[in-house]
Amino acid sequence: MGEQGRRLTYSGKSFLLLIVLVALGFAGNFFSLRLFTGFNFLFGSIAVLLVVRLFGIRWGLVAGLAASLWTIPLYGHPYAVIWLCGEPLFVGWLLHKGKKRNILLYDACYWPLAGVPLVWLFFRYAMHVTVLGTVTAMLTYWVVGITNALVASLLLTYIPRIAPLYGLDMSRTIPIHHLIFNILMAVVLIPSIVVMVIYGKGAESRYLKEMYTGIDDSLKVSGYETRLKLQELATKAGGSVPEEREVAAVVRGILLDARGSRQCRITLIDGAGRVIAGTDGAPGTGFDPCRGGSLQQAGESGIYRCMPAAEGVVPLLQRMHDAVFIHRAPLGGGTSWTMAVEFPFAPYQRALLHDHIKSLLIVLALNMFVLVTSISLSHRLAAPLYRLSQVTTDLPKRLLRENISAWPESMVSEIDQLIGNFKVMAIALSQRFQEITYTNETLEHHVAERTGELIRANEELQKEIAERKTTERQRDHLMVELQKKNKELEGIVYVASHDLRSPLVNVQGFSRKLAKSCADLDEFMAGLALDEAQQTLVEPILRESIPKSLGFITRSIEKMDSLLGGLLRLSRLGRTALCFESLDMRLLMSNIIASVTYQIESTGARVEVAPSLAPCLGDSVQVTQIFSNLLDNALKYRAADRPLVVHIASEIFDEGVRYCVEDNGIGIPSDQQDKIWEIFHRLNPGETQGEGLGLTMARRIVDRLDGSIWVESEPGVGSRFYVVLPRSPKAMGI
């Protein structure tokens, strides 16, 4: 997780941000706040730390370099670059290695561990700065560094919101202790820094003012005393200019007195710029207090600051330390001499630095205190939340495994309430989970049961289906067999009747021929003259025996012929094609009646057809045959003692139409009622004609047309023949 924030996305926008931050770093140092000479509040490291955090060590180093370059001209030495670049390096390395991303903490570690020792090293040994100055510098860098780190840290808590804008990959959340830490530090540190800065800025000018006052005082006093003394000397010398050597010694004493315990140099200079007398310095030498240094007007009029030339690299503060403030004013009193007062800044600087160190130490101490307290406090505040978040991670799974008992506690009422809510929720959840699990188990159990039942039912069903299929197959097979056999049978009948016919033809023909031959013989015999005895022998043979025999033969042949013909017709019934259509039964009946009109009239019979005779579905030729046969039978088997009355009617049922042919004939005895349907069966063979095929054929036809036929009869009363045929679909609408 520590890497994520510094994954460089070289998008245009993020690069732009980088450039801006580097520039800001430099600007921060350029526009640093001046505390006092040699000590500035450098803001640059804010930007540098931001770069380190967002873009990594390398860019952090670059930023650090760019920013700290300004310190070279600012302070006059290049060594500041070292520890100002070390800062991003150290912090960056820790960010890379460490788990937390707390810049403030890392920075707070950097300064005491690396930064400050480096300052000491270079200030003391490379630049030979005073201890006081070094210590002040150390503390200043430390405090500034930490403060900047704090600001950077605070800024970073807001950067996650805008990081997506720059294509930076940063987590959007910040740990709570981090937040608390930052806030506490800010609240404590920033006011203290502000106070320090304000105080610091004032301190130097105060000391300077003090010094200027001192300078002025010294000048005034020394000038006054000197003038007095000179006047004295002048009066002593009687109006002439006293001797310089004398003057020098006397004035020196005065000057020394005037100086008192102050650290300064007072010098009396003649008109030619040569020292007459001074607290330090030999008389007669040229007055050149600022040898090789730079002279600058400072503050009040007439006071100049002399900064000595730096030998080697020396920090500004050190140069300031060596600075001397000079005020040179004419003596007056009739002479062209001037009095110069030189005040070194060192003691004032020391005092200044002492003050500064004090305030820095306070700030630092506050810093440390806040650091420690805030860490512990934030942990105290955040720990319950952290624990809570740990406890509630993966709550569902946890609840299933165990009962959660390790709830954190907190004295913060909101957190406490939250924890309470979570507890309640966990209990409720775990209850629900239990219920669900239970229901689930029972459900699964039920489902398993049902599935088992279903499987069993299915298996039974499958078995039944298989059985059915087998049965069906068998039935189909049987049907096919039956049809084959049927066809075979019909074929046999057909062929047999043909082949049987052939010999019949011969028998018939040759019997006839025989009869003719007999007749011819008879004729011939008649022409012969035969005696009685011979005639009585021959005649019976020729005239009785042979013809009688032939007669029997012929009749039998004829019978056989008609039987065969009947068989043939019967077999043909199964072979003719059927043409199913809706039949108008009234028309059909009238046709049949018309064809037997002669028989009906000659026997005096009456055939009545019901007017509402229902139509049916069938083949017209075949249906005609049925009813024709029935009518023929009725005519054949009429009663001798009464005229035949035939009544034909119909009745419609769901299954079909039932026709009834009722007659008042001789009826059928009950033991014959089954036999009448047999082939060649005749009720009264001696008395009636016919081959006994009529009803057989009728039944055959009815079977083919999907109907049924049966009889109800009473001997002596009559018979009722019922024929059921399929209903005509057209008629169904009626």
């Binding site: 043909h498 016919r501 052939s502 010999p503 019949l504 033809v505 011969n506 018939q508 023909g509 040759f510 021929k513 043909r572």
Partner: protein, 154 residues
């Protein structure tokens, strides 16, 4: 008009496998008064060979310019009557020959088939003399007028 030299009697061809039937038919023909020469075939193969077969010793073959009339039984071994009828009627030379079908069956389908193939007449056996004579006379008059010389003017 009819040139005696090329005028010949109609030869009656009978194709019938049953000897008894054949004899009866011949009797009938005699009784009807026809004395034309008769050639008997025992099956359809022989009948066809008569028209299409190669010279084979004594077996009779048809001659050009000779008039024929055929009595054809339907049910015959080897080649049956319907097939013979079909072949004859599809032969341009023999198409005009009168063919009478004789059979025991009165199956309307068979009758239809034979008529559709072009037979002149269809007679069911037993052929009783009267019917036969009647039929022949219908046909016969026609025949006698055209072809049979015996009864014509001698």
């Amino acid at each position: 008009m009819i040139n005696d030299s090329i005028k010949k009697e109609v030869i009656i061809l009978i194709a019938e496998d049953d000897d008894g039937h054949a004899e009866l038919i011949q009797d009938n023909l005699h009784e009807a008064g026809l004395r034309n020469p008769i050639i008997r075939f025992c099956n359809g193969r022989e009948a066809l060979d008569f028209f299409y077969g190669e010279r084979d010793g004594d077996i009779p073959r048809c001659e050009k310019g000779q008039a024929y009339m055929m009595l054809l039984d339907i049910r015959m071994p080897k080649v049956d009557g319907v097939e013979v009828l079909r072949q004859i009627k599809s032969d341009p030379e023999l198409k005009s020959m009168p063919v009478i079908m004789l059979t025991t069956t009165d199956d309307p389908r068979e009758i239809r088939t034979c008529y559709s193939l072009g037979c002149s007449c269809y007679v069911t056996k037993p052929v009783d003399y009267q019917k036969f004579a009647e039929m022949l006379s219908r046909l016969g008059l026609f025949l006698l007028v055209v072809q049979v010389p015996d009864l014509d003017g001698v």
